[in-house]
């Protein structure tokens, strides 16, 4: 024992010398277990796998490999091109990539294939632990922190940076084109974020637009912004927290008003397919509000004269001319104009709620074509368009939050102007460039200030200076400083200033704030206590919500929800309200998990969620009224955690049916970290449910593919996981029957483990929380670094997950573990060729 320990010590010490303290992570093995998780449902106690704390040679693995693997994977048979007998003669680090794959196969027990002799559970675990330990020793001896390419701000980061720099919220989709994503769906991967002339033009235009918005430009011409509400959004309830109680329908819009001036607000109501206005049978009171204060209340509807259109409103037969005209133009008067101060305000459009129902037979809610054609003459009108126009009349820049943030001083005379401009612009530039400025930086920006000042006033000068800052490569690119004189591949510590940006873009998808940058400039950020304290502070800050949208939604593929189009004949009640509610449930849930710092496994096991009336109805949960979301503790185990959330269940389904294979793949790839390979070409379609004779239930049909050897390899792993979720329909509704037969949600893994339904699956996954934590860490480190994860990162990933396990896999431990890891805090010196080639 003594000698290996010494060797490890030397390796670690040398690493400490190079990177200044990132190595202790790999050496911690024996902390006491953390206090029990605060998660409300039971998470099995954490039993970290024993860390084998001596460098392991492959010789210790030899017996098990010889017995179970080498029979096929040898230098004669070369099954799958793998020659384990030859590999065992070389140091593990020489073939780390292959050995990582072997470790994964052992961990998931995919190999040896069924039917061949397989090790028992203990032997599997032992072999995997030994191999992983060997790989870790090799990684410590020769660290590969990797290198991240120069990173362009993506659209989300740009928008957030503008918000934090200038207190201006802009719609990124209107300014910049969408960013490409990598195969895992992340949009912040440095090597993929390219630059083109079109994009550069976008950035230049955006710089102008943003600087004019932030400072105000009295020369701008009036513009009419259009806000459109989908016809498929049902507006029978209060439509948001920003609208008055007792209102129904409409929308609340956060709009930025560029100047103190007059603005016009015009509303158009929803028309059905043949352009008849909806709900014009009785008068309705529509209100236009600004920050909650009433601008105007207008009555619309109930004034149609002349012969009516036949009730079908099918468009083929018309009523009298007066009636027809009214039914197409009654909303022409919904307009108001008034003064508004510069800055962001909430424009609220809503109807006064009616407390009576029209007489007659209550109609069932209509969907699809029926909804698009029915005129609902006696129903509620909806808002379809809101136009905000301006600025009109006398204009002035006013004093919006953005100006308060920008104008740190205001010159009283000409002599004060340039010093004041210098102060304003250098403060902005330092924040935007995320580093101390050089005199050249300041002079460049001041040159633009002077040009602007010459042609206009002080504001114009600041505007031009700001435009230049927003077009600067130092703003748009994250370029890290590499110490001089390093050989390519040499490992060096990322300096504190660059570390500050790494942290802020990881946790906030934005620029560092002043406290973080100040610590970095003072050279203190790398100190473990400081770093730790900053990570915790940043996670408490609401800016860390960016992790939910930027990371969690993409990791779990929830961003696909926006594009889901369920078959309206089968899922006729699916509307935009449901789609929004699904997304909101998961967003609020994950946000809360992070905020309360639960175990990451609690994402799967929590016994609460967030619901509003629409979603609660969908789930069959009673006594929840109104459109606002509230936390709901779930009495029974069906809906707890992500697996019971309609968002997840919907994005893992086809438009017209569930898919056990898609759900199974989703679980394998995103939760268990063992994605099946892509399916082969030329797959025949699954037979539809047959009326007579043929296979009826999905289970019978799916059994076809497990009989086929080509399909079976993956489907025997995917399908059981998916079957357990079969009680959830393709839109996440609970069901007891499918295709006319009762749902059978029982399943068995290839190793014989039996489980039943979502509750059984949840227990099964909870017992694999280490796999889950490792999968999450792997995805998260890719997101944190903005690069693909390489096999050289795997030892780090395992180390972070293991350490987090000691702490109950709390979110903060995983996130802090990444922030303190070697790939995050160090880099391999650049040069050519790249140190680590992919594959």
């Amino acid at each position: 024992m003594a000698q290996p320990n010494t060797r490890l010590g030397i390796a670690a010490a040398s690493l400490l010398l190079t990177i200044g303290g990132g190595a202790e992570l790999w050496l911690r093995a024996d902390q006491s277990p953390a206090p029990a998780s605060r998660t409300s449902t039971a998470v099995k106690p954490v039993t970290p796998k024993p860390v084998i704390a001596e460098p392991v040679s492959l010789a210790t693995l030899r017996p098990v490999l010889d017995r179970y693997c080498v029979g096929c994977h040898n230098n004669k048979a070369k099954t799958a091109g793998l020659e384990l007998d030859s590999l065992m003669t070389a140091p593990v680090g020489k073939n780390a990539e292959t050995w990582e794959k072997v470790a994964r196969k052992l961990r998931t027990q995919e190999m040896p294939p069924p039917g061949m002799p397989r090790p028992d559970q203990t032997a599997y675990l032992r072999a995997n632990a030994l191999l992983e330990a060997a790989l870790e020793s090799a990684a410590i001896a020769a660290p590969h922190p990797g290198r991240v390419a120069v990173h362009r701000l993506n659209r989300v980061e740009y928008v957030n940076a503008v918000r934090d720099l200038l207190d201006v919220r802009v719609d990124g989709t209107a300014l910049l084109t969408a960013d490409d994503v990598n195969q895992e769906g992340f949009d912040n991967i440095a090597s993929i974020l390219s630059v083109s002339p079109a994009l550069l033009q976008n950035y230049l235009s955006a710089a102008r637009t943003v600087s004019r918005l932030a400072i105000g430009d009295t020369a701008i011409v009036p513009a009419i912004e259009t806000y459109k509400i989908s016809k498929a959004l049902v507006q029978d309830d209060r439509m948001g927290e920003d609208l008055p109680f007792g209102s129904q329908g409409g929308t609340a819009i956060r709009h930025r008003f560029p100047l103190d001036a007059e603005y016009s607000f015009k509303v158009l109501l929803r028309r059905q397919e043949y352009d008849y206005l909806v709900g014009m049978g009785e008068p309705h009171q529509i209100e236009i509000r600004l920050d909650g204060a009433l601008l105007k209340r207008i009555s619309v509807g109930g004034e149609a004269k002349g012969m009516t259109t036949p009730e079908s409103y099918g468009g083929n037969t018309q009523g009298g001319p007066e009636f027809e005209f009214y039914m197409h133009n009654a909303d022409a008067t919904l307009e108001v104009r008034g003064p508004v101060t510069a800055g962001e305000h909430v424009v609220g459009i809503s109807f006064l709620r009616r407390f009576w129902e029209p007489e007659g037979i209550l109609q069932p809610p209509q969907t699809g074509f029926a909804r698009s054609t029915n005129e609902y003459y006696h129903g509620n009108p909806d808002v379809e368009f809101v136009y905000i126009g301006g600025p009109y009349g006398h204009v002035s820049p006013g004093n919006p939050a953005s100006r308060q943030k920008i104008f740190l001083c205001s010159p009283r005379n000409t002599a004060e102007e340039e010093p004041c401009a210098r102060r304003i612009l250098s403060t902005l530039a330092k924040r935007a460039y995320r580093r101390p400025l050089t005199e050249a930086d300041i002079q460049t920006v001041l040159r633009f200030y002077r040009e602007g000042r010459t042609g206009g006033d002080f504001d114009a000068g600041i505007r031009e200076g700001l435009e230049r800052i927003l077009a600067a490569p130092s703003f748009l690119f994250r370029v890290e400083h590499q110490p001089a004189g390093l050989a390519p591949g040499a490992v060096y510590a990322v300096n504190d200033v660059d570390l500050a940006s790494r942290l802020s873009f990881f946790l906030w998808s934005s620029i560092p704030d002043d406290p973080l940058l100040d610590l970095a400039v003072a050279g203190k950020l790398h100190e473990p206590a400081v770093l730790d304290q900053q990570v915790r502070r940043m996670l408490r800050d609401s800016r860390s919500d960016a992790l939910v949208n930027g990371f969690v939604n993409r990791w779990l593929e929830l961003n696909k929800l926006a594009g889901v189009v369920p078959d309206t004949e089968l899922y006729s009640e699916f509307d935009e309200n449901l789609r929004d509610a699904m997304a909101q449930e998961t967003r609020l849930f994950v946000k809360n998990e992070l905020r309360e710092d639960h175990s990451v496994a609690s994402l799967l096991t929590a016994n609460y969620t967030y619901l509003n009336e629409r979603l609660a109805k969908h789930y069959g949960i009673p006594d929840i009224y109104g459109s606002h979301f509230r936390r709901v503790t779930l009495p029974e185990g069906v809906r707890g955690g992500l697996l019971g959330q309609a968002s997840v269940l919907t994005v893992t389904s086809y438009p017209n049916r569930t898919s056990v294979a898609i759900r199974g793949r989703w679980l394998l790839a995103n939760i268990l970290g063992s994605p099946p390979p892509a399916p082969p070409a030329n797959i025949p379609p699954l037979p539809e449910a047959a009326a007579n004779g043929g296979p009826k239930s999905l289970r019978e049909r799916m059994s076809i593919h497990r009989q086929n050897a080509v399909c079976a390899g993956c489907h025997r792993r995917m399908d059981p996981l998916g079957f357990a979720l079969e009680n959830f329909d393709a839109d996440g509704k609970w069901r007891k029957e499918a295709d006319g037969v009762p749902v059978d949600a029982s399943a068995a893994l290839p190793d014989g483990t039996q489980f039943d339904g979502v509750i059984g699956l949840r227990e099964l996954l909870a017992s694999h929380q280490e796999d889950f934590a490792r999968t999450l860490t792997e995805k998260l480190i890719a997101y944190a670094l903005g690069r693909g994860v390489e096999y050289t990162d795997e030892p780090t990933v395992r180390g972070i997950a293991r350490d987090a396990g000691v702490n109950g896999y709390r979110w903060s431990s995983v996130l802090a573990g990444i922030a303190k890891s070697a790939p995050f805090r160090t880099a391999a010196a650049g040069g050519e060729p790249p140190k680590i080639a992919r594959k």
Partner: protein, 445 residues
């Protein structure tokens, strides 16, 4: 809306102030002002009108050169020589895909594929404007524009059992990708002219100089930055440099262009409240886009199928689609015919603009292939036989106008194949086509 500016003196140009409508700074484009080219450029435009037409008021009875100006065509009198009235073109349902008269009218118009009866499944075919855009669009800043006057819903179901894109767009990028139409002139303007505020030369040039000064300065900063980077990390910055150079070249080209009559459109605020103003502004933008060679393919839908637009300004307060089901009542027929006439009057405005714009050795209209028509004939019966189709413009020598050419039961797509051929784009089959019409019938060449 378009004000024609007087040419600016040569001295002004030499001072570098008054250069042309400067080229916008977007995707890869060649500096191809048509005027500087040896051979005339042909452009393609479509103007689609919804809910069919009253055929007896539209279609001339006489064939050949002696065709009479029908009531609906009155407004086109000044352009008679550059019009080809084509009759006998059909747009029948594809085999196995019946129903959905209005969905079919729109979807088939440029694809000649009928949509399947589905509220969710999108399956038509690539439309001929997009086939063209894929080819000739490579040479322009914007491959194609898909415009409309009404806003089109792209989600949900519209015609009975049909997804909304089937009634709301005539343009399909591929069989499964309908293209949304844009009806906001402001968005169109910004797409064509960026953030310069006006197509006025002086305004644009000021903005260009300002941008160049930012670019120059950014270039210096990049050079400083590049020096500090290991070579492997410079790729991204090289891309940035390439982009900077690309834009600078365009500015230079723009400044070197000879001055011409300049149409000026100020940055539109949004959609004009008045329908006629809206249509005119969109046609102005089309004209200027063609003139500056920003794109060579533009489609325009005056309305989507089922349009319930009312036209009280011409004495038709009734909604268009319901009244187009006129049940043979003379009063209703007369009103629909009025709408048809009104649309034609707007088209005449467009033709007038195109003819007033010099282009090379002729006018823009000489170098245009414009198709005007509806996807059904009489809306009352949803007739798909002998649908109203006209060609306007000289087609850069490919079209010899002034004639009414009757065909007999000819699939509309056969015409599309011929037009594609005239643009040098050979396409064997489009939807339900059976083979191209002989191009010489159109050109008399």
């Amino acid at each position: 809306m378009i004000i024609t500016r007087k040419a600016i003196s040569r001295r002004t140009i030499l001072r570098g102030l008054g250069s042309v409508l400067a080229l916008p700074l977007l995707d890869s484009m060649t500096p191809a002002f048509a005027a500087t080219q040896k051979t005339a450029v042909n452009r393609f435009g479509v103007v689609y009108v919804p809910n069919g037409m009253i055929m007896e008021n539209y279609l001339p009875k006489a064939e050949g050169a002696a065709w009479e100006l029908t009531p609906t065509l009155q407004a086109l009198q000044p352009f008679r020589d550059q019009l080809l009235i084509l009759s006998g073109l059909n747009s029948l349902a594809s085999p196995g895909r019946p129903g959905g008269a209005h969905a079919k009218a729109t979807t088939r118009f440029l694809t000649d594929v009928s949509p399947p009866t589905s509220e969710t499944w999108l399956d038509a075919g690539i439309s001929m404007d997009q086939i063209l855009a894929n080819e000739i669009g490579k040479r322009t800043q914007v491959a194609s524009l898909e415009l409309a006057i009404e806003s089109g819903e792209t989600a949900g179901a519209c015609d009975t059992g049909f997804a909304c894109p089937y009634t709301n767009t005539i343009c399909w990028k591929s069989a499964n990708t309908p293209l949304a139409t844009e009806n906001n002139p402001r968005v169109v303007f910004e797409r064509l002219f960026g953030d310069s505020g006006s197509t006025d030369a002086k305004t644009r040039l000021t903005r260009l100089h300002q941008q160049r000064s930012v670019l120059d300065s950014v270039g210096e900063e990049l050079k400083r930055l590049e020096g500090t980077l290991p070579s492997g990390d410079r790729t991204k910055l090289t891309e940035y440099f390439d982009a900077v150079r690309d834009i600078e070249q365009r500015i230079q080209i723009a400044e070197e262009q000879n001055n011409r009559d300049l149409p000026v459109v100020a940055h539109p605020a949004g959609i004009p409240a008045n329908w006629e103003d809206h249509v005119r502004l969109m046609f102005d933008l089309e004209t200027i886009a063609f003139q500056c060679d920003l794109t060579r393919v533009i489609t325009m839908m005056i309305g989507h199928e089922h349009s319930g637009m009312t036209y009280p300004q011409i004495g038709v307060p009734d909604a268009h689609h319901p009244i187009s089901h006129h049940q043979k009542e003379p009063e209703k027929i007369a009103k629909v015919a009025k709408i048809n006439q009104y649309h034609m009057k707007m088209f005449a405005y467009f033709l007038d603009k195109l003819r007033a714009t010099p282009d090379g050795d002729g006018t823009l209209l000489d170098h245009m292939t414009l198709m005007y028509g509806a996807g059904i004939a009489d809306s009352n019966a949803h007739s798909v036989y002998n649908i109203p189709i006209m060609l306007a413009g000289g087609g850069a020598g490919n079209l010899k106008g002034g004639r009414h050419i009757p065909f007999k039961d000819m699939p509309l797509a056969n015409l599309h194949l011929t037009l594609l051929d005239q643009f040098g784009v050979h396409w064997d089959r489009l939807g339900d086509s059976t083979g191209p019409i002989d191009s010489r019938i159109l050109s008399l060449a």
